[in-house]
Amino acid sequence: MDTVENLTVDVATSTQSQTRSSLWQLPWGSIVIIAAMVFVAVFAPLLTPHSPIEQSLPDRLLPPAWQEGGTPKYPLGTDLFGRDLLTRLFYGARVSLVVSAVTLLAGGGVGLIIGLLSGYVGGRLDGVLMRAVDATLAFPTILFALLLAVTMGQGLRTLVIAVSLILWARFARVVRGEVLAIKARDFIALARVRGCSHLRIMLVHILPNVLNTFMVLLTLHMGFVIIVEASLSFLGAGIPPPTPSWGQMVAEGRGRLASAWWVSTFPGVAITLVVLAFNLFGDWLRDRLDPKLRQL
């Protein structure tokens, strides 16, 4: 007997989605941008002959190809060290993707588990865990990451740990809310009556129904993580040079806005576009899967 509620039932109960069942309502703009980012990140070495870290001082600060002094060899110009900007953008995409993916999986995963436990078990455990969530949410993200960067040293590992430690709390709180709502449903009581163990109920009955929310949270926070990473790199406490990171690239160009505007501009545009795409995609996903999350 099927005791796991069909996921599509959840969708149909919201009035919004009754008029939007067609697949052609996809947010194509966002999807294209995200796909492009993943594509260039994965295939970066194949897409460009230049190296992102090798310096070439005679070629420093060349403008983009369409301006005076630019060459098609460096389509978006070069930076202070003569490195091709477009190449660095591609490799920077890798950094952003890797950091975001790892952080979201770690922080989100932990948040999911804790939210599940907290919501299902309830009682004292719930109280304690939610206090921890409140305390964590009270901490400003960038400040915390900066603190960790100073004490644990810069780099990928520190960054991932820092942001995961902030992220779990956000996930845990929302997941817990979902779990509480699902717990009240009849099919859970039915499962208990039939003798299912607590563990089984959590994994087989509650978890699949929480996955919708979890996926929405993942996409909604992708932009957040990318901006945090970029801000930290901009401040010099994120991914250390020479590894290209978009935030760091913006910082490099900062001193030369008047003479070499392209060094800061293109990375900034990249960040904005990508975050925009993820936010819009996340909004669409939320509207389709779980409109209750609207207030997020």
Binding site: A135, L143, A149, T151, G223, A230, L276
Partner: protein, 305 residues
């Protein structure tokens, strides 16, 4: 009501305590904080000397006690770089940030409320669409890039506004705009959705049946009730502004606590960083407490929960 206030206040104190412990622990996490403080060519004797001077050779619980005792008394250690008490440095710079943040908040509120209300009332119209785009872009654009972009347009190209440092009123415009944008985007959406919810409720229909003009209905009755969730988001935004200020102040070389934090980070001035984080937490918690009390005052449903 008093019970609620007391409860929240105690919660705040506990949270502050936790923050202090976390900050304390982090410094000792990867070896001694002394290692963070000494220059590379320090001799072992120098290290020993500093250890004893800072009381770091004592057992952990004693250290924690000393740290907390000092904190309560207002002594949070000396900044390595400035050789001044960290607390003094903080309060020296705090007014500068306090001059900037309210302006940013003011801009945010002044822009987001009308835009939010109009978006809700003329839902689906061009105003709604444009405001929506502005909101979405505002959230996606990184703080620092917006600041740099504004500097480029208004300082470099147009030469209209100064690009850095404090000064006359024109120095405030760009940093406040940069800080405020993020808040505008988020708040506007919330005002809009909150208004939409309220506009459907029964008492609004009653107000209209009563014969009240649409203006009064919208601006007096709807808005008041719609503001309740916005108020709670306000607390979140103040915390965000404290953090956002780090980046904005760095971009505009604004001598506030954000910039102080940044300096503490790049110069690895751990005592200063520790102090700044603790004091930041105090501010954030205090503001949240005030907001929660206001919230309970405005919405009687909360008081009796």
């Amino acid at each position: 009501m008093q019970r609620y206030i007391l409860h929240r206040f105690l919660q705040g104190v506990v949270l502050l305590f936790c923050v202090a412990i976390i900050v304390f622990a982090l410094g000792r996490l990867t070896g001694n904080p002394v290692d963070l403080m000494l220059p590379e060519d320090a001799t072992p004797e120098d290290r020993e000397h500093l250890l004893r001077a800072l009381g770091l050779d004592r057992p952990y619980y004693e250290q924690l006690y000393l740290f907390l005792a000092g904190a309560v008394r207002g002594d949070l250690g000396l900044s390595i770089r400035y050789r001044q008490p960290a607390v003094d440095l903080f309060f020296e710079r705090l007014p500068n940030t306090l001059k900037l943040v309210p302006m940013a908040v003011g801009i945010a509120v002044l822009m987001s409320i009308p835009l939010g209300v109009l978006s809700a009332v003329y839902r689906g119209s061009i105003i709604d669409r444009l405001a929506g785009i502005l909101a979405v872009l505002g959230i996606a654009t990184p703080n620092f890039w917006l600041g740099i972009g504004l500097i480029y347009i208004f300082s470099v190209q147009l030469g209209l506004l100064p690009s850095a440092r404090m000064g006359g009123p024109e120095h405030y415009i760009l940093p406040a705009a940069t800080l405020g944008t993020f808040a505008v985007a988020g708040m506007m959406r919330l005002v809009r959705s909150s208004m939409l919810d309220v506009m459907d409720s029964e008492f609004v229909k009653l107000a209209r049946i009563k014969g009240l003009s649409e203006l009064v209905v919208i601006w007096k009755h709807c808005l008041r009730n719609a503001m309740i969730p916005v108020l709670s988001l306000f607390g979140v935004f103040v915390a965000l502004l404290v953090t956002g200020a780090i980046v904005t102040e760095t971009v505009f070389a604004w001598p506030g606590i954000g910039r102080l934090t940044y300096e503490a980070v790049i110069f690895r001035d751990y005592p200063l960083l520790q102090a700044v984080i603790l004091l930041d937490a105090v501010i954030v918690l205090a503001v949240n407490l005030v907001i929660d009390i206001l919230y309970a005052y405005v919405d009687p449903r909360i008081r009796y929960a």
